[in-house]
Every structure is written in C-alpha cells, then in structure tokens.
C-alpha cells in the first residue's frame, strides 16, 4: 500500500495507488507546461490565462469534452469533480456512474481511478486542475497526483463553509494542512504544485474583505507547510472599481503577509452569483468579467457560460464562454480606463478591512486553532454559510453603484472608521427594511442584480 509523506490516505484508496517515489518520479518527468508555467507566462504578457470549469460523469464523455474544449484554446482545463466524490461518498459516485453517468454533475475521479486520470491529462495539450469542494480532499489529492495533475483547488475554510453542513473547521483545516505538507515535500523534490484557494466562498454577495481575509489566512497556513505556488481566487461581484481593487489587493496583501519565497497568482472567478438566464445578458456579463480580470491584473480567469443559470453547460456553450473571455481580456478594450482615484480608494479600504480581520488571528500562536475560534465567535464570518460552523450573521447589501458593502458586520472586529464608511455608503440605498417579507425582497433584489435583467426589445 502506498505511503505518502504527511498525508493520510484512506486504506481503500491507498491500496489502488502507485508508490510515492513512483508518483514523484512520474511528475518530475512529465513533459509539457505546468499550471505555474502558464500563470507566469500570463503575468509576463499582461493577458490572463483562461480556464473553464468542466466535468461529466463518463470517462469517454470526459475525454471528448476536454478535447472539444481544447479547440477553443483555453490555457488550463479543469477536471470538475461530482458532488458525491466531494463529500467522500465514493460508493454512491461509483453506483451512479455504473447506472447512468450522465446523471453525475462532475467527473468522479476516485471511482474512475488514477490511470484514467492520466489518460485525461495526456489527452490535451494544456495542464489540468482538479476543482472540487471537498472539506477533506486527501484521497482525491493523492489520486490526482498519481494521475499527473499538479494543480489542486481548495482550502480548509473555503472548501468547508460553502460545501457541507457539519464538518468542524478544525477537522477540515487539519486535513488541508496535510495536503499542503505533501505539496511542501513535493516542492523539496522538485515538483511545484499550484494550490488554488477558493475565495469565492458562498459566491452570493461575498464582501471582498471577507474573501481576501479567508484566502490570506489559508495562504499563510499553506506557506508554513512549504507550499510555494498559491493561486488566490476572488469572485467578481459586479462593480468594476471594487473588483479591480480586490484583485490588486491579492498582490499587495501577499507582499505584506506572505513568505517572499511563495509565488502568488490572483485569479478572477467570473460572476459567481445568480446568473442572467438571457443569453445576451449572460454573454455581456462574461465579457465584463474578462475585462475586469485584465484591468485587475489577474493571472487567470475562470470563465462562465451563457447556460450558467440553466444547468451544467454543453461543450458548445462552454467553448463560446472561453472564446468570449479571450476577446474581453484582449487588447480590444484597451481604451477602457477606470477612475484611478476611485480604484485606489477601494484598494486602501480593502487592505484596511483585511488587516482588521486577519491581524488578530495571525497574532495567535496556533493559527489553525485561532481560525476555528474566530469563526465560533463571529470575528470571522461568511454570509449564507452552508455550514453550521460559521455564524452566518453578516448581512451584505449592494450600494447604489452595485458595490458590495456591510449592512450588518455583526461581530467582525472592524474599526469605527470602517463601520462608518459602510454605513455612509449604504445610506443612499433603500433603507434596510425591518425583518419580514420586505427585508427578504430587498436581499433577493441584491442577489438578482444581474439575474433579473431582461433584454430590451423594440415594441
């Protein structure tokens, strides 16, 4: 049975994997660009790399999907994992795979096994990333490595709170600590793993400083385990000055808080909330996201499709999303110039808020324990938490310009200046209604900011 340094893999999965030394040797000698190579090249050129999400149940179907998407010239392709595998229900994933693979919402890599994973990695001319949402991704990580995939998304907070009901943060943080330690061991052995941190969180009205605080804490924890390449994703909220500032903050915060030996790459996730169903508005939003990524200096942008509101996209719509993103991130829109003062003002406040959130936690001796404690007491929180292990008491609202602000910061330890600014910015919005149907209508309006748009038509 394969033994992995620092990484506990379940006996059933380990029994099917090659030895660690064989995996390392294979990864060292794999030809072609890795994700870090692609991200460095993107930074040099100023044009973000592009990556779609993609995963279907069947193996032949997945091979065909990757090959077809490769024709649209993405920089990285995804192996998006199904919900059962994410929650470690490998047996259910295997059963649905046997019965009707088309009913899975992703590729069950553990059920298919690492050999098939290698076939995926060998099928296309670009590197792959495993995107999932597993509070405990250790078995999946080991399988991905054996498959030759060295870009792996997730972290102990971002892959817990949005993705499950009742896994304590201490448990998810410790399991991701093992993943990061294995990446450290690989870095020492000359294999650089790209670890992407999921700043999107619950995706709906996530205030930038919450996203950035969470990924920064995860990044510090990862760097301490020896991780040397970190992609930090941020979800497009829809107000471009705020979004561009947040993307730039990824680099300034990393310079302030992270070990300089770590390479950091900002990643934009195109709008992650409720998407417009109308294809024209959906395409417009995709273009908007691409432009945001370029202006914000993102190393990579993860694209959406015009079918987002309806269901998992077909290959055609996804290819279109990739190509539309390439257009939006090209020099075609170089004439667009943002108000630099407005961006600088947002950047200043984002850095300030993140400092107010992370510095008390970073000051503690045991970082992982301090993160768990901060979520228990509400000094860290996320809106719409799927998990019971965050307080879920922060209330975000859009200001009149569409930027995401704190209507109620609950127990987040913000300074008086920060609190006054958010109150002032929201003063121009419709007043927060009292709890009841009116309040819910107001929240739904902010959530549906883009989803509600319908095309203008001539009568």
């Amino acid at each position: 049975m394969a033994e992995f340094p620092g990484l506990e893999v379940s006996a059933a999965v380990a029994a099917r994997l090659p030895d660690w030394d064989d995996i390392v040797a294979y990864l060292r000698n794999r030809p072609g660009d890795t994700v870090p190579d692609v991200l460095r090249a993107a930074d040099r050129s100023g044009v973000p790399a592009i990556q779609p999400r993609c995963g279907v149940g069947g193996h032949a179907e997945m091979l065909a999907l990757l090959r077809e998407l490769a024709l649209s010239a993405p920089s990285v392709l995804s192996v998006t994992i199904d919900s059962y595998t994410r929650l470690r229900q490998f047996d259910v994933a295997a059963r649905v795979l046997a019965e009707e693979p088309a009913r899975l919402n992703g590729y069950p890599l553990v059920a298919h096994g690492w050999q098939r994973g290698r076939e995926l990695a060998d099928a296309v001319p670009v590197p792959l990333e495993v995107r999932h949402g597993s509070p405990d991704g250790r078995d999946l990580f080991a399988t991905a490595l054996a498959a030759g995939i060295t870009s792996f998304e997730g972290g102990g907070i971002g892959y817990n709170l949005p993705y499950c009901k009742d896994v304590p943060l201490d448990v998810s943080l410790r399991s991701w600590q093992q993943v990061d330690a294995a990446c450290g061991a690989l870095a020492d052995a000359g294999v650089l793993v790209d670890r992407e941190l999921f700043g999107t969180l619950t995706a709906v009205l996530v205030p930038p400083s919450i996203s950035l605080a969470v990924t920064l804490l995860e990044a510090v924890a990862a760097a301490r385990e020896g991780v040397r390449c970190i992609s930090i994703s941020y979800p497009q909220g829809g107000e471009i000055h705020q979004d561009v500032a947040a993307l730039r903050a990824v680099r300034t915060l990393a310079a302030r808080y992270l070990d300089p030996r770590v390479e950091v790459f900002p990643v934009l996730h195109q709008f992650m909330g409720a998407f417009p169903a109308d294809p024209a508005w959906a395409s417009g939003l995709i273009l908007h996201g691409a432009l945001t990524a370029r202006l914000g200096g993102a190393s990579k942008v993860v694209n959406k499709t015009e079918q987002e509101a309806r269901g998992l996209p077909d290959a055609d719509a996804n290819g279109k999303g990739i190509r539309l993103t390439a257009v939006g991130a090209s020099s075609m829109f170089d004439f667009v110039e943002l108000d630099a003062d407005r961006v600088a003002e947002e950047l200043h406040w984002i850095e300030e808020e993140v400092a107010e959130l992370v510095e008390p936690v970073l000051a503690e001796e045991d970082l992982l324990a301090a993160i768990g404690a901060a979520f228990r007491t509400g000094r860290l929180d996320v809106p719409f938490s799927a998990s019971v292990h965050a307080r879920n008491q922060v209330i975000p609202r859009r200001d009149p310009g569409g930027a995401i602000r704190y209507a109620d910061h609950s127990a987040l330890p913000f300074s008086g200046a920060t609190r006054r600014r958010h109150a002032a910015l929201l003063a121009g919005s419709a007043p927060a209604p009292r709890p009841g149907p009116g309040e819910i209508t107001a929240v739904i309006r902010d959530i549906s900011y883009f989803a509600d748009r319908t095309p203008a038509r001539t009568p």
Binding site: V96, A102, R103, K165, Q307, G311, L312, P435
Partner: protein
C-alpha cells in the same frame, strides 16, 4: 398570503437534498416562511432523506416536507423515498423545488422520474410555494391528536 387562523403556528420541514450544498435558496425560503408565521424546522444543506423522516417523527404536526435540490442530483438523492414510504415514514406531502436534473437542456422525463419516486409536488418558482402550502393545508383532514 395570510396564515389560516390556528392556535399553533403551522409547521413545515425544510432542507436541501443529500449531496447538495447550495444554501442560498434554502435560507431565503426559511426566512420567507417564518416571516409568514410558519414554524420552520430547517435541516439545511446536505440532508439525507432519512433525516427528513427523523425530523418528521420528532415534529409530527408538520404539514409538508419541502426539499430543495439545485445541483442536478435530485433523482439519486431521493431514491430511497419509495422504501421510506413503504416503511410508513415521510407520510406527508413531499414538495420539491430547484434545478432538478443535470444539464442545461431539461426533459420532462426527468420530472416524471421524480414523480414516480413519490414526490407529490414539484414547484418551479418561489411565488408558487405559499399558495401550494395553503391548498395543502385546506385539504388536510382535521389535525390528528398527538400526545
């Protein structure tokens, strides 16, 4: 939609299907129903069907079981419904809403399969929910005496 006059608040059991972690609609529906005077037992995301049955055992006054599923796995997540019903459990209208199959192209056969499992009502928009609950309430037999 005013709650029908009763001594007790009307109770419903709400949750998201077993493999599904989408929380937003669930939390909005919970707040909406509470704002309309319902007692909502919200089981949250990733709730296996047998936990809905357990919740009903603990709250026998519940009028309906409201299940959300948007990740496309509704059928696989609800496949134990016939078995639980055979055991005499989940003996209330099961109302299902969300995005009920994988993919951007929906077929009516996907909904038929769910109905065949024993799902009683499939709701597409939030605005349909309160009228449906009122209809189910009105159609109820006089409430059984418990305890």
């Amino acid at each position: 939609m005013t709650p029908l006059p009763t001594d007790q608040p009307r109770t419903v059991i709400l949750g998201v299907a077993a493999s599904d972690a989408h929380a937003v609609a669930n939390q909005l529906i919970c707040r909406l129903l509470r704002a309309h005077g319902f007692h909502v037992v919200n089981l949250g995301v990733c709730t296996p069907l047998h936990e809905f049955a357990d919740a009903l055992d603990a709250e026998p006054a519940a009028e309906a079981i409201l299940i959300g599923s948007v990740n496309g796995h509704a059928y696989a997540d609800l496949r134990d419904l016939p078995e639980l019903r055979r055991q005499g459990r989940l003996d209330r209208p099961v109302v299902l809403g969300g995005n009920l199959s994988v993919g951007a192209h929906k077929r009516s056969a996907d909904l038929d399969r769910l109905t065949a499992l024993g799902v009683d009502h499939i709701v597409t928009g939030l605005s349909e929910l309160l009228p449906l609950l009122d209809t189910l309430h009105a159609a109820r037999q006089p409430a059984p005496q418990h305890g």
